[in-house]
């Protein structure tokens, strides 16, 4: 029968919903798991073909779209606008605008912050805990750009403000790089994706980690000592989206899937399972109590205001960061 190729993050397409979608429409969804970098790389290599729908973060769309043209403009008329939280839809449209056309619709959002085992690390409140020798051998984070940015904020800089100034940004990153190299002996490992980290926190191999909020919440269910903490210098806020690759074959199915996923009862299945907040309007009645409690526990009003939302990433920035990340990884 008909199939739709979906390029997305692990957990963004629960089997339950895939089955339901198939029952409703007869379309089989085939999922390829990925992350932002690999999603872009893959679509670049296929020149926007091979997949019918991708789910990059909103800040990683415009610059690559400019350079490689891997997405097609989103036809918002084919979306059921009332399913989306209006402010988020507007923000995503705004941030994915290239040549006057927008390329994505919001799916879910969340933050990166600290996941902490309070018993072992009661003092950890900000990203600087990642550099604290008190937690030597028990620290973990991704060796990816969010870590660089988070530490810049924690050390009192505003990296987003320097996006336009390549020189200054390079200097800032060099500084962060040095810090990371200096603190390298403290690191247990650089985790690469969610479950691996959860595993090591669960087993007590790691006490302080920079991670996505849902991870902390998932662990909190199992072990109340572990929880997500919005860092003092501000959690990093991201929105993951739907974007249709330039040469998608089954565009119809892609739109059907978007509308399907954003239906409150379906969005709730996702959120209840993965704990990420959804961009779906009217989901609340379907959510588990515990999921709502998570957010309230971790975010004070002040924390919410302090969330730092990623602006679109300019092209040159990635190369600068890439070099720093390599350097950190290679140092001893």
């Amino acid at each position: 029968g008909e199939t739709m190729q979906l390029l997305t993050w692990k957990g963004y397409a629960p089997q339950q919903l895939i089955d339901k979608f198939k029952a409703e429409t007869g379309i089989t969804v085939e999922v390829t798991y990925s992350n932002n970098e690999e999603m872009i790389a893959k679509l670049r290599a296929t020149r926007g073909a091979g997949f019918d729908l991708a789910q990059p973060s909103q800040d990683r769309i415009s610059s690559v779209q400019k350079e490689f043209g891997i997405y097609q403009p989103m036809d918002y008329d084919r979306l059921d606008a009332k399913l989306f939280v209006p402010s988020m839809l507007a923000a995503v449209k705004q941030n994915t605008m290239v040549d006057g056309k927008s390329h994505a619709a919001p799916f879910c959002w969340g933050t990166s912050g600290l996941v902490v085992n309070a018993k072992a690390a009661p003092e950890a409140r900000d990203y600087t805990a990642l550099l604290d020798s008190a937690y030597s051998g028990r620290v973990s984070y991704r060796l990816k750009r969010p870590t660089l940015i988070a530490l810049a904020f924690a050390l009192g800089d505003d990296p987003f403000a320097l996006y336009g100034d390549t020189k200054a940004y390079t200097a800032l990153m060099d500084k962060i790089g040095d810090k990371l190299i200096e603190a390298k002996p403290l690191v247990k490992n650089y985790w690469t994706n969610g479950d691996a980290l959860l595993q090591s926190m669960r087993s007590g191999e790691v006490h302080v980690a920079m991670a996505w909020d849902n991870g902390g919440w998932k662990l909190h269910d199992e072990n109340p000592d572990i929880d997500f903490i919005a860092p003092a210098s501000g959690a990093l806020g991201w929105i993951d989206t739907f974007a249709i690759p330039a040469k998608a074959k089954n565009v119809d199915a892609a739109y059907k899937w978007i509308n399907f996923m954003m239906r409150p009862e379906n969005a709730a299945v996702f959120t209840n399972m993965e704990k990420y907040a959804t961009a779906c309007e009217g989901v609340n009645p379907f959510l588990d109590e515990a999921v709502r409690a998570n957010f309230e526990r971790s975010f004070s009003q002040q924390d919410i205001e302090r969330i730092r939302w990623y602006p679109p990433v300019p092209a040159e920035i990635e190369a600068i960061e890439g070099r720093i990340l390599d350097k950190v990884k290679a140092s001893r």
Binding site: Q15, Q16, I18, V31, A45, G50, D195, A196
Partner: protein, 284 residues
């Protein structure tokens, strides 16, 4: 020293221990992997919570066993499908190569032979990216000049097949050549002398002689393709092969369903390897 020479007891004992330790080293990771496929725990690690078949048979939603894991099952199918085509293509072309290098004389043969060996010294990752680049260059060129979008020229099933084919064929060529070297050319002459033409000679004499080598190299090609990671990594499109899929899961952490898959994989390869080994023994 060797079987026929007298040797001291201590020497023999130490040697046995060494080889024993070596085999433990060889099998420890596999054994552990298989064992933990049956642990009644959501994580592939000790402690042992009891025996379960959940990671094979459970239908979800909490635990999804391999039999119900659409995502992994699909990648197994993709891998098998890929391996089939790779085995077919590389066995065919490799056999042609063996004939070419063993039985024909032509200018530039030495150079071509060295080129044929090149994939042995090209790291798989490099092979992957260079094929990706070339496909991309060709794809862009065709798209710009002719406006055609050639599916073959972008990451996807067939590019993976071609990528793996490009180095596995070298192995097939070497294996079939080795057998062809042992072929007594006078058998061909004898067949001709009895009235066969060149095509009939190949069909009735040479190919039957090569059959064990062809079968076993096809099996090897199948296995090599099935487990290939390095070259595939860069060429894979919307249909990930099993190793790629497993890699993402191992990297990201996963349930013992990976152990279950590994167990099946180990048993499957063992069966295939044993069959091909027995076949090639029969021929000796």
């Amino acid at each position: 020293m060797i079987r026929s020479l007298p040797r001291s007891g201590a020497y023999t004992a130490l040697y046995r221990i060494y080889v024993g330790a070596f085999f433990v080293f060889l099998f420890a990771p596999l054994g552990v992997t298989c064992l933990l496929a049956f642990n009644d725990s959501p994580f592939p690690s000790l402690p042992w919570y009891g025996f379960t078949l959940d990671w094979f048979t459970s239908a979800g939603p909490e635990r999804i066993g391999i039999l119900h894991d659409a995502h992994n099952l699909r990648s197994i199918r993709v891998s098998a499908h890929t391996a089939f085509w790779v085995a077919l293509l590389s066995t065919t072309v490799g056999t042609c190569g063996a004939f070419l290098f063993e039985q024909e004389k032509f200018p530039g043969k030495e150079a071509l032979y060295l080129l044929m060996l090149a994939p042995l010294v090209i790291p798989g990752v490099i092979l992957g990216i260079s094929i990706l680049l070339a496909a991309n260059t060709a794809g862009l060129f065709i798209e710009e000049r002719l406006g055609w979008d050639v599916g073959l020229l972008r990451p996807g099933f067939w590019l993976v097949v071609l990528g793996q084919f490009s180095f596995i064929t070298t192995f097939v060529t070497l294996v079939v050549s080795a057998r062809l070297k042992k072929f007594d050319r006078s058998l061909e002459e004898a067949a001709m002398n009895l009235g066969a033409n060149r095509m009939q000679v190949i069909r009735h004499i040479t190919l039957p002689f090569l059959r064990p080598a062809i079968i076993s190299s096809a099996a090897v090609a199948f296995l090599m393709s099935f487990e290939n990671f390095n070259t595939t990594l860069f060429l894979v499109g919307p249909q990930p092969t099993l190793p790629i899929n497993l890699y993402l899961q191992v990297r990201d952490g996963s349930t013992p369903v990976i152990n279950a898959i590994s167990l099946l994989l180990i048993m499957g390869t063992a069966a295939l390897a044993l069959t091909s080994l027995l076949l090639s023994r029969e021929d000796r």
